[in-house]
């Protein structure tokens, strides 16, 4: 784990992406250079009715010293967050957690994203390409209930990755669950592959199962309620397949396929 920084930043840019989805950019964010895809931040909300900080994955960083998160309104905390105005002060603790391990250049990368699991995976794709990975080696499966759950399409398209939108109601892309096209892709391919997934529990379970079934290595980024976010409270643990506990915040949030009981 790298040393996190705890600092006040300001909301520089606020965009309402779609319905309940927002993109917030904060600046100054000093530890920008330490950030890697899979890292997250703990945001302090300006109201102690919401006592804990709230964790959000890093969606992008800019070398000018700003950092972006993308979030969806769930409950009290994200409502308060969405109500912030440009210029408002927010204290950020981060970067936190264990980031993704980049795949090898000769591997096909299968990304399985859903809901608010999208931001860290977009960041992963961006950084892979920056590091010289062929965009066409990245297969970005992005599932949602309806077209409303699929955000930042143009941003993804611009990256030049293979983009496979999947919606349960068929309102955008393939109809159904994301698992089916993923399995089809795997069956049709005979290169080395690596899976990365972040999204709702059901999706993570499926990604985990697929990895184990086809013997494809990979990583999953998990969620848990996080009182502290940096390893001191033991409140975020999940059971591992070996019977011990792992702290999602600092032993994860990124774990190997097969490592955790999801």
């Amino acid at each position: 784990m790298i040393k996190p920084t705890c600092e006040d930043t300001f909301l520089l840019k606020k965009r309402n992406l779609k319905n309940d989805y927002f993109s917030f950019t904060f600046k100054p964010y000093v530890p920008v250079k330490k950030c890697k895809p899979g890292h997250f931040l703990q945001l302090q909300l300006p109201n102690s009715d919401v006592y804990f900080r709230r964790p959000f994955s890093i969606a992008s960083v800019d070398s000018n010293g700003s950092i972006e998160i993308i979030f969806k309104i769930f409950g009290e905390g994200t409502v308060l967050l969405a109500n912030l105005a440009k210029g408002d002060k927010v204290n950020l603790l981060g970067p936190l957690g264990v980031p993704f391990k980049f795949p090898k250049k000769n591997e096909q990368t299968i990304i399985i994203a859903g809901g608010v699991g999208f931001p860290p995976l977009m960041y992963l794709a961006v950084e892979m390409i920056a590091k010289g990975h062929d965009p066409k080696s990245i297969h970005f499966f992005y599932g949602g209930r309806t077209t409303d759950d699929i955000i930042e399409k143009t941003r993804l398209n611009k990256l030049g990755v293979n983009f496979y939108p999947v919606t349960e109601d068929g309102s955008f892309g393939v109809k159904g669950l994301v698992t089916k096209p993923v399995e089809e892709f795997i069956k049709s391919s005979n290169s080395n592959m690596r899976i990365f997934s972040c999204g709702p529990t059901g999706m993570l379970k499926a990604a985990d199962a697929i990895g184990l079934k086809y013997n494809i290595p990979g990583q999953l980024s998990l969620e848990a309620p996080m009182p502290c976010g940096f390893g001191i409270c033991l409140g975020c643990v999940k059971e591992k397949t070996d019977g011990t506990h792992a702290r999602v915040c600092c032993d994860g949030p990124v774990f190997e396929i097969g490592e955790i009981i999801i």
Binding site: M1, C6, D49, Y51, I232, C233, L234, G235
Partner: protein, 305 residues
């Protein structure tokens, strides 16, 4: 005279009165990534038990209004691993080391404490006779004056440095328990551990943590903690470490005024890991402004009507 934050607990001199609370800083490693532990008056470890414990299955924390509920269930590496894996790191830290000890039987407490007696860098033991999150022992010890006295006596026999009794707030008279602990040979008190509480989800009808009930901490409990610190202070001359809901410099001052010689910060570190560093700075500014040269100018100085 020079402004000085030093305090003494049972003969052990601390650079300042600010400690981490047990269970809220692991074994110090993660916090050391954020600020140098030399900023602490003392570091208090997670409760150590004889055998390693996984603790309760998740979820084991829940957010409450201005606080939180936890039933971690004394998850810890156990005394063996603590000595081999954690002590080497702690030994290197330029702060006092207090090891919190818990158990479900008296013999366990005694065994762990006697092991710690051989570890020189352990300056004091804090005896957790007040954890609400285990089925046997723990809280029962701290709720009963006879068991309290007995535990202290037994532990004092095997550990030759100061022993702090960490008291439970879930009792009719904390003064009675404090006196029993003093009788048993306690050198200081930690006041308070968490309040028993429960959190329920009105949508799912489920309790929010697997142990169903747990310990309440955070700003919500501060007035309860202050009252208990003051009650113990008024009835004993042993030093008190005040705990409960601290998240600002004025909170620390309030505990000192009520009679605490030092304080511990728990839940507050989760929200602001830099809190102790911030308080250390602000406390000096406050003392300068109030023309206090020593923490002792504040201890117990609350003005009653």
């Amino acid at each position: 005279m020079k402004l000085d934050l030093k305090v003494k607990i049972a003969g052990v001199e601390l650079a300042n009165p600010l400690m981490t609370a047990s269970g809220c800083c692991g074994y110090g490693e993660e916090l050391a990534d954020i600020f140098p532990l030399s900023k602490l008056g003392a570091l208090v470890s997670k409760s150590i038990t004889l055998n390693p414990r996984l603790g309760h299955p998740p979820p084991r924390t829940a957010e409450t209004t201005s606080g939180m509920l936890n039933a971690i269930g004394l998850a810890n590496v156990g005394i063996d691993k603590f000595v081999t894996d954690k002590i080497p790191f702690l030994k290197k830290q330029k702060t006092k080391i207090i090891v919190n000890v818990a158990g479900s039987k008296l013999e366990e407490y005694v065994e762990v404490c006697s092991r710690l007696n051989d570890i020189e860098c352990v300056d004091m033991i804090e005896l957790n006779i007040s954890c609400p999150n285990v089925d046997e022992g723990g809280m029962e010890f701290g709720a009963d004056p006879i068991m309290t006295e007995k535990s202290l006596k037994a532990v004092k026999k095997v550990f030759n440095r100061p022993v702090i009794a960490k008291l439970s707030p879930n009792v009719t008279s904390i003064v009675q328990i404090a006196k029993a602990a003093e009788q048993g040979g306690a050198d200081a008190f930690s006041v308070i551990n968490t309040l028993l509480g429960m959190v329920v989800d009105a949508e799912t009808w489920h309790t929010k943590i697997t142990n169903n009930k747990g310990g309440l901490s955070g700003p919500a409990i501060k007035p309860v903690a202050l009252q208990m610190v003051h009650a113990v202070y008024s009835n004993s001359s042993l030093p008190i470490i005040g705990i409960g809901g601290i998240r600002s410099t004025s909170d620390v001052i309030e505990f000192l005024l009520c009679g605490a010689t030092a304080v511990q910060i728990g839940t507050g570190l989760f929200i602001d890991p830099m809190l102790i560093v911030k308080i250390e700075k602000e406390l000096k500014q406050y003392m300068k402004r109030k023309k206090c040269n020593s923490i002792y100018d504040l201890i117990g100085k609350v003005r009653k009507y």
